[in-house]
Amino acid sequence: MSPEPSGQPPHEDNLRPHTYDGIQEYDKRLPNWWLLTLYGAIAFAVAFWFVHYEASVVLPDGERVTQELNRVEAVKLAAMVDKLNDPYLWQASRNSAIVANGAATYKSVCQACHAPSLRGKAEDPKYIGANLADNAWLHGGQPTEIFKLVREGYLPRGMPPRGGQPLSDTAVLEAVAFVLSHHREGEPIVVEPPPAQ
């Protein structure tokens, strides 16, 4: 489509020696800004390789990720250790806002197995979850023990970690507070250990 040059190319232009399908190529200098990006990229690659892999200026990616994850975990743990003890959970179970959030989580996640009444299979055989309303507990009845069980689950009996949903620690805490709101601090606790597997 573009017009063929009418005459022969101006003689001062360098032509590359090759000819393909009758097409020849000028040998022009590239724009300086273009060359700058090329040489700049090469220089950057070398510098990056040296700094990143050869000199021990920065840690390798894997170690940096691990380090950062550890830091996040430590912060989380610190926040939890501060808060998470039996008295705190009892206190949370008497806080109407926390219990309301927990009730919503219970309704959407836990209720399918533990029944709306919390009584689980004691309510109706179609529910498969343990009874959370009585004083008998399978894995320990202290608030922190319940929290730990909900968070980690007990798969041999079909209790998945966090009820099988991507719940946050806060959501788990709220749900436990909701369950505890049906109990009183200091009530008798009967622990029935799970059958040996």
Partner: protein, 495 residues
């Protein structure tokens, strides 16, 4: 007057040593310039105003990346609808093909942000502060004194200010205005990421519009490079009517005789010899001086041409003064310039149009299928199935997302399963808060005596307010039913 005449053999804006030849195209006046300015300011107004105009509860365009929701003209899409992007992109592609085959590079000259902002904002600032093209060239050549420094500082400060404004508007598309205002009025340390984004974007825009300019169109942009594949002899281009213009007359501006013009293919060889016939072109070089990419349109269609129409207005102006008919440089097809007729209906345009129509129809169907609720059902992590004392158990994780601003009520049910299946988790109606995501558990249990192997079923979410159903197929799995029969083990054990 700029140095050498443009040649087909090299790029005007790049000197032989690779350095930049910074262009100062002259201003034009005329109907195309006016029309283009109106279109450009309309487009700028649309760009700036879209985040301000509320449609429903959200801005007209709000790509809420943080909330993973995309509000387009009162319509809300969630991240789950990313697949629709396929239709948006292919639709834009087909539309571009079709328009290019028909009208050439109207996008480049009229609507591309590069042209719109460069010609109608940044170049205007330059004219305002440094004067017309000859004045700007003089200023370029002048030694650095206080006056020049003051003008240049003012110009670049304004450039950066405009770039920052454009970048802020861009950010408003992603965070919405109230949030943008909150970020503007707080310290950058409170939101380093976004601050850096806007700062770098402003810097890139400034560099692009202050210095890089037409290099983007000539060297970087792939659309210009694709032109030879997209257009043919009947596509509309901005061109020079060589039949009417050649041989060029000895212009009043003291232009060199036609024989001195190097490689113009527009110069028919017999015509150069014939002195009797004179063309309409006076070789005044107005078309070259106004060209933003520095080409000579009279050398024919070139990749650098953005079809910006500046040379049309420039030439029409000269022709009017010479009392000659206008249109020596005009919108026409290559066939038209050769004296033929432009064929609008041709296989290429028909094919592109057909692809466009098919694509649009499918896209319409796809977009119409989008429901205000998203629904997902998957097996719960953990065991694939569980064996209770009396039943085989499957546990499903259901995720419901309300994409609207109103509360929606959804009922879950299981359909297509064999009789005897025990369900829990589907009894209550689920209330979804506006824009909320909600997780649910559905437990399915099949009593062992009735379990006859795996079977397929459907989990159905019915929107009680919308009157539609979302269906996800699923499979109930368990062990081989034979293993559940007690006599199976009795028969095996004696061996």
């Amino acid at each position: 007057m700029s140095a050498a005449r443009p040649s087909l053999d090299s790029v005007t804006t790049i000197n032989a040593d690779g350095s930049r030849n910074f262009l100062h195209p002259a201003d034009t006046r005329g109907r195309w310039t006016l029309a283009r300015r109106v279109v450009a300011w309309f487009l700028i107004a649309v760009y700036v105003l879209l985040p301000w105009i509320p449609v429903g509860a959200h801005p007209a365009v709000f790509l809420d990346v943080a909330g993973r929701r995309f509000h387009l003209l009162g319509w809300t899409l969630s991240l789950q609808e990313t697949w629709l992007l396929f239709f948006a992109l292919t639709g834009a592609g087909f539309a571009l093909f079709f328009i290019t085959a028909l009208l050439g590079r109207v996008w480049c000259g009229w609507a591309c942000p590069q042209t719109v902002f460069l010609e109608h904002v940044y170049r205007r600032i330059e004219v305002l502060l440094e004067g017309d093209a000859p004045a700007r060239r003089r200023l370029d050549a002048a030694p650095w004194d206080a006056a020049k420094t003051a003008r240049r500082v003012a110009k670049h400060a304004l450039y950066f200010l405009v770039s920052a404004l454009v970048a802020h508007v861009l950010l408003a598309y992603f965070v919405s205005l109230p949030r943008l205002y909150a970020m503007i009025t707080t310290a950058p340390t409170a939101h380093w990421g976004t601050f850096l984004f806007v700062f770098v974007t402003s810097g890139l825009l400034y560099f692009n519009f202050a210095w890089f300019r037409e290099q983007l169109c000539i060297v970087v942009c792939p659309y210009g490079r694709l032109q030879s594949a997209l257009i043919d002899d009947h596509s509309l281009v901005v061109g020079y009517d060589a039949k009417r213009g050649e041989p060029r007359r000895q212009g009043r501006a003291g232009a060199p005789p036609p024989s001195a013009i190097g490689s113009g293919r527009a110069v028919p060889s017999e015509a150069t010899a014939a002195v009797a016939k004179e063309g309409d072109c006076v070789d005044c070089l107005r078309c070259v001086h106004v060209c933003p990419t520095g080409i000579d349109i009279r050398q024919g269609l070139q990749m650098e041409c953005l079809a910006c129409t500046a040379c049309i207005d420039a030439c029409d102006d000269v022709m009017t003064r010479l009392r000659r008919p206008t249109g020596l440089i005009r919108y026409d097809s290559l066939a038209g310039f050769a004296g033929g007729r432009t064929k609008w209906v041709r296989p290429r345009t028909m094919l592109y149009a057909a692809l466009l129509v098919v694509g649009a129809a499918v896209a319409l169907l796809a977009f119409a299928s989008v429901k205000p609720t998203a629904f997902d059902a998957m097996r719960m992590p953990g065991g694939a199935y569980f064996l209770d004392t009396d039943a085989v158990r499957n546990q499903m994780l259901v995720r419901l997302t309300n994409k609207t601003d109103a509360v929606r009520r959804v009922a879950l049910s299981v359909e297509g399963a064999p009789a005897g299946l025990l369900l829990s988790g589907t009894d209550d109606t689920i209330e979804l808060a506006p824009l909320a995501e909600s997780l649910h558990t559905v437990v399915l249990r099949m009593p062992k005596p009735r379990f006859a192997g795996k079977f397929r079923y459907r989990i159905v979410a019915r929107d009680l307010d919308g009157g539609y159903e979302l269906v996800k197929p699923a499979e109930f799995i368990g062990p081989d039913p034979k293993l559940l029969q007690e006599d199976y083990w009795r028969e095996k054990s004696p061996r």
